[in-house]
């Protein structure tokens, strides 16, 4: 057993640091550092740089254009980039539809779609949830009816993250309504520019626009956009979910969050002393840091089990549970730390990147909106209740 990096790992870390220094625009790093809203261009600039370096799809196998990193290298990359305020990689192409395409797609589909994902030239979004199908995803109703060499798609999807930027959407659609709900679901790729596709913003509690409703009215989709076999979509969706969970603990992201919390608690004053020196508040931050370390080492144990040939399996569901709880706790404590200055709501600063003066300390106005927004992390991607059901069933066999 050994926690230290070997020489190659240390070399690799230097390479990552050098790359981020060279390729990450200062403006983007600065927005990340201050919790400001990122635009599409900010994200694309960084992801395309990663694409040129061959590091964007870093969880893909070598033969699909992945860098073939070890678990340790992946750990180093995720931590260094987060530490240096690089944006996280948008998962819809790289972690979700990409692996589905190279695993279940045909050669024509691979040649057509994978390069755009590897190079971040094409923005993908995910068409899973529907108004009536949240936790019970299999009950989805969006229909795709085969007509000749096309499908005609009707229905709607919801909670579609950043659909407003998307070129393509991968959808679970119902091609057959007989049998169990899981049967008769197919996995379809749809060009967002197709006639009949409309995107409607959903405004979140913090006033921001990151998710959408997507409506499909008689949308004509070429049959060659079907992945794998008709009616096998549920299998591909489960495969995708398993993939998605890697990194879902968001440990590097939360490490930055705890750093920021401590900075804020050092600058907030109480009776002339830093808030972080108040024993009650210090207890809470210390406890949070311990929670985060427990999550980090749980993730490391799972990774090393994987590397050692052991399958990770559904225990990773608790990486999702604890990861989301910790992200929520960080924002809750930042909100507690800023006290009265959690109240001012400054949408200009938050969303339009205006240059108006903040009210109170510069870090304060994002505290409450982030706290409100982060409540979503225990809901999306399978609510924490669903995750616990999964562990109870798959791990504990109850």
């Amino acid at each position: 057993m050994d926690l230290n990096f070997n020489e190659d790992d240390l070399k690799f870390r230097d390479e990552v640091v050098a790359f981020v220094k060279a390729e990450l625009p200062d403006g983007v790093a600065d927005k990340m550092k201050h919790g400001k809203h990122l635009g599409k261009d900010d994200i694309m600039a960084w992801q395309q740089a990663l694409g040129r370096k061959g590091w964007l799809v870093n969880s893909w196998p070598k033969k699909q254009g992945g860098p073939g990193w070890t678990a340790t290298q992946k750990y180093i990359f995720d931590n260094v980039t987060a530490e240096m305020n690089a944006p996280g990689i948008v998962p819809f192409g790289t972690k979700m539809v990409g692996p589905v395409i190279y695993t279940f797609g045909n050669d024509e589909q691979k040649q057509r779609f994978l390069p755009g994902i590897r190079e971040s030239k094409v923005w993908w979004c995910q068409g899973y949830s529907e108004p009536g199908s949240g936790s019970d995803l299999a009950s989805l109703k969006t229909r795709a009816v085969r007509e000749g060499d096309h499908y005609i798609v009707n229905g709607s999807k919801t909670w579609t993250t950043l659909a407003q930027y998307a070129d393509w959407i991968f959808c679970l659609v119902r091609t057959d309504s007989k049998g169990k709900p899981q049967e008769g679901i197919s996995f379809l790729l749809i060009d967002m520019k197709s006639p009949g596709v409309t995107v409607q913003p959903i405004i979140m509690a913090d006033g921001g626009h990151e998710v959408n409703s997507v409506f499909f009215t008689d949308v004509k989709v070429p049959a060659e956009n079907l992945i794998g076999k008709e009616g096998e979509g549920w299998t591909y969706a489960k495969f995708l979910l398993a993939n998605e969970r890697s990194g879902i603990a968001a440990v590097p992201h939360s490490k930055k969050g705890v750093q920021a919390l401590k900075r804020i608690a050092m600058s907030e004053q109480q009776d002339g002393k830093p808030l972080l020196q108040d024993p009650s508040f210090r207890d809470k931050v210390a406890d949070l840091e311990v929670q985060l370390q427990a999550l980090e080492f749980t993730e490391l144990r799972i990774l090393s089990a994987e590397a050692g040939g052991g399958a990770p399996g559904p225990e990773v569901s608790f990486l999702k549970i604890r990861g989301s709880e910790i992200q929520q706790r960080i924002t809750e404590l930042v909100t507690e730390a800023v006290g009265y200055y959690a109240n001012p709501y400054l949408p200009g600063l938050l969303w339009q990147g205006s240059n108006e003066e903040p009210v109170g300390p510069a870090y304060a106005h994002t505290a409450a909106p982030r706290y409100f927004n982060t409540r979503k992390t225990s809901i999306y991607g399978g609510s924490n209740e669903i995750q616990k059901n999964i562990i109870a069933k798959m791990v504990l066999g109850l």
């Binding site: 405004i203 109170g360 409100f372």
Partner: protein, 379 residues
């Protein structure tokens, strides 16, 4: 020992409940929030007409001579509807300070108009370095001739944009965090040397950052005794704390009702999600938390007038601790049980959650009051 409302109080509760139910549906509230003032002058006139603005004031001040029980009744109903009108800032806190410590002249000048709905107040006590320590006051009031000149910065002054008068806590002697040496001043909002930055809050109220640059006031502007403003301010804020806690109870009941309804109507896996035991028990926890919050508001409402200041302080702090705790359980639970819908702007759920969150941050948060209670307990 009697814990039930008398007939007058029941009538008051019915009328405020009816107003909220009939005049304050969520979409109306959304429209009011979007206006420039952020509250409705028409509603305020109605409050005056119904006598609600006079509840805590004596007959000779044009009021009804009622007390904390009636204020809690009104605030709880307002919480049910997320009422935006500045009742807390003007009637409970500002009016409360004038009523307790103001001179006859000040009462005449302010309260009569206030009860008629013509006067708005805001209390400027918070400063950025002070966190929740009311004694931490840098803003200074220096004698000049017969009067004073006030200079300093005040933050997050609720109802600042609409106020006709500010009640300002300023230091007339002593060091930055001395209990002694703080004086309260009644200052015309349009006085020379005052500059405001107005903004909305997370929960759609209005507040201001206010800079006082050598603002000259006469000796008549002093509220109560020179250098003795802290005890007046602290007691008024303890009462306002109970009032905002009562509002929070209304918010929690509304959230629980909405969540309860959602559990019965939202179906997944072919059954109402309220059939899932884990969600049932979480709803029970939310229900229990709201019950406990209601109990503590009752406790504090009945103890806030106690002659012993320690009893009053402990009551207000214990109540605020409970509201912080229960508000989190109910607010976070309601959002979680509503799933994705709970984090949207569209549903009222997120707005109640935001209000409960901000309530925790006002007049001292859960931790501040837990510490304050603990120090009194261990003393």
């Amino acid at each position: 020992m009697d814990l039930s409302l008398n007939d007058d109080q029941k009538m008051l509760k019915d009328s405020v409940d009816r107003f909220v139910r009939e005049q304050y549906p969520f979409e109306t509230r959304r429209k009011i929030a979007a206006t420039n003032e952020g509250w409705s002058k028409a509603n305020w006139a109605k409050f005056a007409e119904l006598g609600w603005l006079g509840i805590p004031f004596g007959e000779d001040e044009g009021g009804l001579g009622w007390g904390m029980v009636e204020l809690s009744v009104v605030m709880e109903s307002f919480g049910q509807g997320l009422v935006l009108e500045p009742y807390l800032a003007t009637v409970v806190l500002g009016g409360g300070i004038i009523a307790r410590a103001g001179s006859a002249a000040q009462k005449q000048a302010i309260l009569l108009g206030l009860v008629e709905g013509k006067v708005q107040l805001a209390t400027a006590y918070f400063e950025q370095q002070a966190r929740y320590n009311l004694a931490d006051v840098k803003t200074s009031a220096k004698r000049e001739g017969a009067g004073f000149v006030i200079s300093g910065q005040k933050g997050v002054v609720f109802n600042g944009p609409s106020a006709d008068h500010f009640i300002v806590a300023a230091r007339t002697s002593g060091g930055q965090r001395d209990a002694k040496g703080i004086t309260l001043f009644l200052v015309d909002a349009k006085a020379k040397g005052i500059t405001r930055r107005d903004y909305p809050t997370q929960d759609a109220l209005r507040a201001s950052e206010i800079a006082f640059d050598n603002v000259a006031v006469g000796a008549v502007a002093v509220i109560g005794k020179l250098d003795d403003g802290l005890s007046v301010l602290e007691e008024a804020i303890d009462r306002a704390t109970v009032a905002i806690c009562a509002e929070a109870v209304g918010c929690m009941d509304a959230l629980n009702a909405a969540t309860h309804e959602y559990l019965k109507t939202r179906t997944q896996f072919g059954v109402p999600i309220g059939k899932f035991q884990v969600l049932q028990h979480r709803m029970v926890d939310m229900f229990t938390a709201a019950q406990e919050a209601r109990s503590m508001v009752l406790m504090a409402t009945l103890k806030i007038d106690d002659a012993d200041a320690t009893v009053r302080r402990k009551a207000a702090s214990a109540c605020k601790v409970q509201i912080g705790k229960s508000g989190r359980i109910v607010g976070q639970g309601a959002v979680q049980l509503h799933g994705g819908m709970g984090v949207t702007d569209e549903l009222s759920v997120s707005h109640y959650f935001k209000r409960l969150t901000m309530i925790d941050s006002v007049f001292g948060n859960q931790q501040h009051h837990l510490t304050r209670y603990g120090l009194l307990m261990a003393a």
